[in-house]
Amino acid sequence: MLIASYYFYINIKPVYALLLAGVTITTYLFTNLIAKATSDRGKRLLLIAAIVLILLPLFFFKYFNFVNEGIFGLLNYAGLHLSLPHISLLLPVGISFYTFMALGYIIDVYNEEIEAEKNFGIVALFLSFFPVVMSGPIERASNMFHQFKGKLRFSYEMVVSGLQLMLWGYFMKLALADRISIYIDAVFKNTDQHVGSSLLLATLMQPIRVYGDLGGYSLIAIGCAKVMGVNVIPNFNRPFFATTMSEFWRRWHISLIKWLTDYVYTPLSFGFRKYGVWGIVIALNLTFIISGAWHGAALNFLVWGGIQGVALSFEMLTRKRKDAFEDRFRLKKRWWYIMLGCVFTYLLFAFSLSFGGDAATVAEVLQIFKRIVTDSFHLPYKDGDTMLYGFIAFSILFIKDFMEEYYPGRILLFNHKNNTVRWLAYYCVIFLIFYLGVFSGEQFVYFQF
């Protein structure tokens, strides 16, 4: 599997495999050194050195041009003429993901939650495991090592269940995400030519596109690993049925949020604990601002992170009062109240996501919001086929998620006991992928991280 993983990675860009190997060797050396160190101070120094070394390539590739152009631009403005050559860098595929996995493993060793692995091959496979190396889910050593060490046996059930996940993943990516991308891109690449209602529609479609794209990719990755007998942690859990932002972030990009919680939020909130509630609010906001900065080196990503941080802090501070209010009027199980929560959460996330893209600056996003509100009403731009196909694909996914959320086990198609029903369902989804899907070689959004 290690050879297959490296073969896969080298096929994308051979030079960058050296970087992956470098991160792997550093991780292996430092985890074993930390485990052997006898003094607390020694362990701590090794931890800091390892974190800096592992983060260096990510910082270099992600922020070099930002620092070069941004900071030196400012200095230039102030009369200091410094410059470094602009380097046209393609971010090495998956660098964020294996960097995060390596850091998590090193910190776990430091915290004595896992023993340092002596077998270099296991560490190398963990960091290069081909289903997850490009876009996650961001795995943990504690979940993967024991699986890699054990004998991988062929299991019919796991192969079937893996293939089913992959099939849904392809549906979400090809039939839904790539289809509605056509509409979103058409609108956002020419905002001047479109009316407010089109801008609103495209804004509302954005979360569905990312869910289809990253959620679909995750299912393909998880399914592919499962076919080989390896269980990978889930990444999405029907996010659009979250009734609050805090619940939403327990259902959306789960592996990243869990990683941020364990390795950024918890240490920060622990560090700020003497400031009580406000220490935790600061930790929460910093965590999301860091997450924003990771998504992109620009102000709009920081605004995106800030909105999430403020929304979550607000929910955290008002939770007790909200609970009491809901209990008093027995609202928690009322369908309309749940629906209201889902819609509000969705809208908040959709509008915040406008700041979470590469395409628009903060001023441009605010301009879009202004036009959504002030443009006189015209019917939105119509792209008949795209809208119809996108709507069919979304409806199918929505019904599937809805049934699994509220009526689990009620309708079984992929797991129906009748062979014919199962195969009919498979063929149906395959047909829908070919009929509704887009096959023009669209990339996955998160490959650029």
Binding site: T266, K274, G279, R319, K320
Partner: protein, 79 residues
């Protein structure tokens, strides 16, 4: 410090943080059993416990606290 004394001093701290005057502390009690025990109240609890016993936890200790029993053992190890 004896386990019993630790539990006796922990009880009012837990009752205050979780706003529940009838909360009874057992070794097995964990975040799953107490309604208001989320990441916010957890950190407030940690801070209050540190003040009560005049000790300082390490981040490493925090990760090892799966339930009250673990917390009591860690507090005990600080004396």
């Amino acid at each position: 410090m004896e386990k019993e004394e630790i539990v006796n001093r922990l009880t009012p701290v837990f009752r205050k943080v979780f706003s529940d005057n009838s909360l009874v502390i057992t070794d097995e009690l964990s975040a799953l059993d107490v309604e208001n025990w989320d990441s916010l109240s957890h950190m407030l609890l940690i801070s209050e416990v540190e003040n009560e016993f005049s000790i300082k936890f390490k981040l490493k200790d925090l990760n090892k606290m799966a339930n009250v029993g673990d917390m009591v053992a860690i507090i005990s190890s600080k004396f």
